[in-house]
């Protein structure tokens, strides 16, 4: 596969982050070609035996020392462990990591480990998509066992994928399910026979195969659903490579290898996922050797741990966006020139150096450099330009210093980031009040549209640009209080919604890329969001841990099935 090579080369760029602009453009073109090739045969049955697919080692994974070995315990430091395992509910990263390893979906991420397309077959052995892109027919894999011994069939899949919207299901809790977006555009889901599931959509959805491996789309044992009903939230039984041995809500989850996993038993015997809500506690646990896998480390630790003998640091593609939201419901962030001035005032190099310890890249717009639909043009706009910033301050017509507050969460690197942004902004004629909030208050204030400038991040949970932009821009997105465009800028919002709808239902990849380019241009033009950086979330792990799919891990999706310890 030459495409994989192109991709690998491209990703080298990501890791080096030192390529010249020209090289960069060439690589991007390569990626686009690859993406286009992959898109040529959407109707063809996808995915062969995934065991074979696993043979292609991830470009980002360390070179394995010999053949994979069975055994070992992974002690996984999560940033938190939620109180519930309910997949339809947001329980923090720790729990979604557990779900990804306990569960299986109809589809799964590409085994390149790089978080790019196309999706691969998992519980669906193969599928066909109708000409109009609205009907998906999945052929269900035979011989798959759930952790409780039940057999997988088409009915089990229909049950799992409807239970969060079906009031009559024994496990249904009204109002509890938060991110079941694979159901929103779905007209029907049926099982004509034991081995076939047919999903019909209202509109074509280019991202649908990805949505099916969102943690909320996990397939749960129907036997367990009947037995535990609502208490499935503490007794999650699926058919993934690991099964839950013990769950202590809010503290720890122990997983053990599932011997009857359809693809063969995973290499690692046991995974202990522990919550470390305090950065210092997590670091101390890493330092003391109590933890051998830490995918959420503070960036500050990376430099030192890189030099350690026992630990290694991996960094994948920069999939996480850090940005400022300008709430256009309020003055002075409703002023276009103010927003542009904010954009030009910020020195992203300092942000990347001082806050992210070098683990980041100059941003263009919402879509990152390794993602489909990336448009590098925005990088020029993200360069600090004091003269332009001052110019826009003058053009805004507001008396200087222009005063506003910057609202942010009082955890992780946000306070430091806020101080940096403040000093850059104050250099061009703003006066910024720092408004630190605990996370609950932050969202309360921002979602109510009561902030002026706010600061946040988005990761890419499924490898499709729709995953990043829709949440941010669509008029009915609840996070739209960040910018308030639906109320304050209805024309822009309407245009954006049209583009977003067009983008997600366009099946031709070239045309689709063009639409996302337009979307990003529109964002850069009106600047309701000011990008701060593409963040490369590092993963710290013991030196003897191999073959982690780094792409997913860079955006909080961690799949440990193929990981082994030497």
């Amino acid at each position: 596969m030459t495409d994989a090579k192109t991709l690998e080369k491209y990703l080298n760029y990501v890791r080096e982050a030192t390529l010249s602009r020209r090289n960069f453009m060439r690589n991007t073109a390569g990626l686009a070609t690859m993406a286009a090739l992959a898109a040529c045969a959407p109707a063809a049955p996808a995915g062969q035996a995934p065991a074979a697919a696993g043979a292609t080692p991830a470009a980002g994974a360390t070179v394995a020392a010999g053949a994979p070995k069975t055994g070992g315990t992974l002690v996984f430091a999560a940033e938190s462990i939620g109180e519930s395992l309910e997949p339809g509910l947001w329980n923090g990263f720790g729990i979604s990591n557990v779900i990804d390893n306990v569960g299986a979906y109809l589809t799964r991420p590409n085994s390149s480990g790089q978080w790019t397309d196309p999706a691969e077959a998992s519980l669906a052995e193969s599928w066909t998509i109708s000409e109009d892109g609205k009907t998906y027919t999945f052929k269900i894999r035979k011989g798959v066992k759930f952790h409780d011994g039940a057999d997988l069939d088409a009915d089990a899949i229909v049950r799992s994928l409807t239970r969060q919207v079906n009031k009559d299901d024994a496990s249904f809790v009204d109002g509890l399910y938060m991110h079941v977006n694979y159901t929103f555009n779905r007209k029907s889901i049926t099982a004509p026979d034991k081995e076939t599931v047919v999903i019909e959509l209202e509109r074509p959805d280019a991202a649908y195969l990805y949505r099916l491996f969102h943690p909320s789309a996990i397939i749960i044992s129907p036997k367990a659903l009947d037995e535990y009903k609502k208490e499935i939230n503490t007794n999650l039984i699926s058919c993934g490579p690991f099964k839950i041995d013990k769950f202590t809500p809010g503290a720890e989850v122990t997983l053990v290898a599932f011997d009857d996993f359809w693809e063969g038993r995973p290499y690692i015997d046991k995974i202990v996922v522990r919550g470390y809500p305090d950065e210092g506690a997590m670091l101390a646990a890493i330092e003391a050797g109590e933890v051998n896998f830490a995918p959420y480390p503070p960036a500050s630790a990376v430099q030192r741990l890189k030099e350690s003998q026992e630990m290694k640091v991996m960094a994948g593609p920069p999939l996480i966006n850090l940005f400022l939201g300008c709430c256009t419901l309020n003055e002075p962030t409703n002023n276009h020139d103010v927003r542009l001035a904010i954009n030009y005032a910020i020195n992203r190099d300092n942000v990347i150096k001082a806050v992210l310890y070098g683990l980041g890249e100059l941003p263009a717009s919402f879509v990152g450099p390794t993602e489909f639909g990336f448009d590098p043009a925005g990088r020029d706009i993200s360069k600090q330009d004091i003269a332009k910033a001052k110019d826009h301050v003058a053009k805004s017509g507001l008396p200087t210093p222009i005063k506003f507050s910057l609202t942010y969460e009082n955890n992780r690197f946000w306070p430091q980031m806020a101080e940096l942004v403040k000093s850059d902004l104050e250099a061009v004629g703003f006066a910024v009040t720092l408004d630190a909030q605990d996370s609950g208050s932050y969202w309360g204030k921002v979602n109510d549209g009561k902030s002026q400038l706010n600061m946040n991040q988005r990761s890419l949970w499924v490898p499709d640009p729709d995953n990043k932009v829709t949440l941010l821009e669509s008029h009915n997105a609840s996070a739209q209080g960040e910018t308030g465009i639906a109320k304050a800028m209805p024309e822009y919002s309407k245009k954006m919604d049209e583009l977003l709808a067009a983008g997600v239902s366009e099946l031709d990849k070239t045309k689709r890329a063009e639409i996302y380019k337009q979307i990003q241009e529109l964002i850069l033009e009106e600047m309701p969001y000011v990008m701060l950086a593409y963040y490369t979330k590092p993963v710290i792990m013991a030196a003897n841990i191999n073959d982690l799919p780094i792409g997913g891990a860079s955006t909080e999706r961690i799949f440990l099935q193929k990981v082994w310890m030497s």
């Binding site: 210092g280 001082a354 306070p415 430091q416 720092l434 609950g440 208050s441």
Partner: protein
């Protein structure tokens, strides 16, 4: 003395007793011996207060302005405690970092003292149902672990200097209210107060003339002990990110932000933590000295 009263004061305080007066020379020697630590505490606390006030003159650096190229420098003659992640001088930040904690500590104690005195006097002087109601209200407030109450209040009001003061003050009120009430109750029973009542002196006059002056010594002792607690709580709130807003440096926040660098540059979280400890320690020493001096039951021990 009731347990309830013992509970909310770290120190035993009683309002009444007698004292003898030894000769002047002996007294001075005894004073020096006895108050050595208190004096030391006093001097240190004064230094901390002066250090935070005169920080701009004591250090040539700006505590807020960032200087990315000189970030994370190790301690040297130029930067005594090194520099932080944003290139700011840590020593300067430690100097300034006492400001919010001392401000919130002292203000919240004063506020709690005022309100607590009002409640305690009313309850102790009037007695009866009012007393019962007020004291039960204090019980309710005391039934929340103090720091939790403060966290809850800050979370509901939002962060900021004023809100931190309010939160800490609110959680300290019962301490003062109960103390004042117990003092007032003992005083009301004294003969001279009864006598004053008999000759028709008004309530306000009795409180102002007879009760208030007798309250002062134990209250000062209690206030000092409480100040130490208030400073601790204020730093704990900022440690949890619920203190005053950055970029103003703040000891508690500096510890929590510096924690992630503890294995790279331990001096970054260490010095602000040490500053909190020493400040609270000095206040506790002052409190001890004051108690020994002002609380007559303990005198001459």
């Amino acid at each position: 003395m009731s347990v309830a009263k013992l509970k909310d004061s770290n120190h035993l305080v009683t309002a009444t007793s007698l004292s003898k007066r030894p000769t002047l020379g002996r007294r001075l020697t005894a004073l020096r011996q006895k108050y050595e630590l208190a004096l030391l505490g006093g001097i240190f606390f004064a230094l901390v207060v002066l250090g935070t006030i005169f920080a701009p003159w004591l250090s040539p650096y700006d505590p807020i302005k960032q200087d990315i190229p000189s970030r994370l420098l190790t301690p040297s003659a130029i930067h005594w405690f090194g520099t932080d992640e944003s290139g700011r001088d840590n020593f300067t930040r430690v100097l300034y970092g006492g400001r919010p904690i001392l401000t919130t500590g002292i203000s919240s104690v004063l506020l709690a003292l005022l309100i607590g005195m009002g409640i305690g006097t009313a309850a102790g002087y009037r007695g009866g149902l009012l007393d019962d109601l007020l004291m039960r209200a204090m019980d309710i407030m005391l039934s929340f672990p103090t720091i939790l109450l403060a966290i809850l209040i800050v979370a509901s009001l939002g962060t900021g200097l004023i809100n931190t003061i309010l939160a800490i003050a609110f959680s300290l009120i019962p301490t003062f209210a109960r103390l004042v009430r117990s003092i007032v109750i003992t005083l009301v029973r004294e003969q001279y107060v009864t006598a004053a009542h008999a000759v028709g002196t008004s309530d306000w006059q009795i409180i102002a003339k007879h009760i208030f002056p007798n309250m002062i010594p134990p209250i000062i002792v209690q206030a000092t002990a409480t100040l130490a607690i208030a400073i601790s709580y204020s730093s704990a709130l900022s440690f949890l990110g619920l203190g005053v807003e950055p970029p103003r440096p703040d000891w508690g926040l500096m510890v929590s932000q510096g924690q992630r660098l503890i294995f790279d540059a331990i001096y970054i979280p260490f010095f602000p933590g040490l500053a909190i400890t020493l400040t609270v320690l000095s206040v506790n020493y002052i409190g001890d000295g004051l108690r020994d001096h002002l609380d007559p039951t303990l005198r001459n021990r």
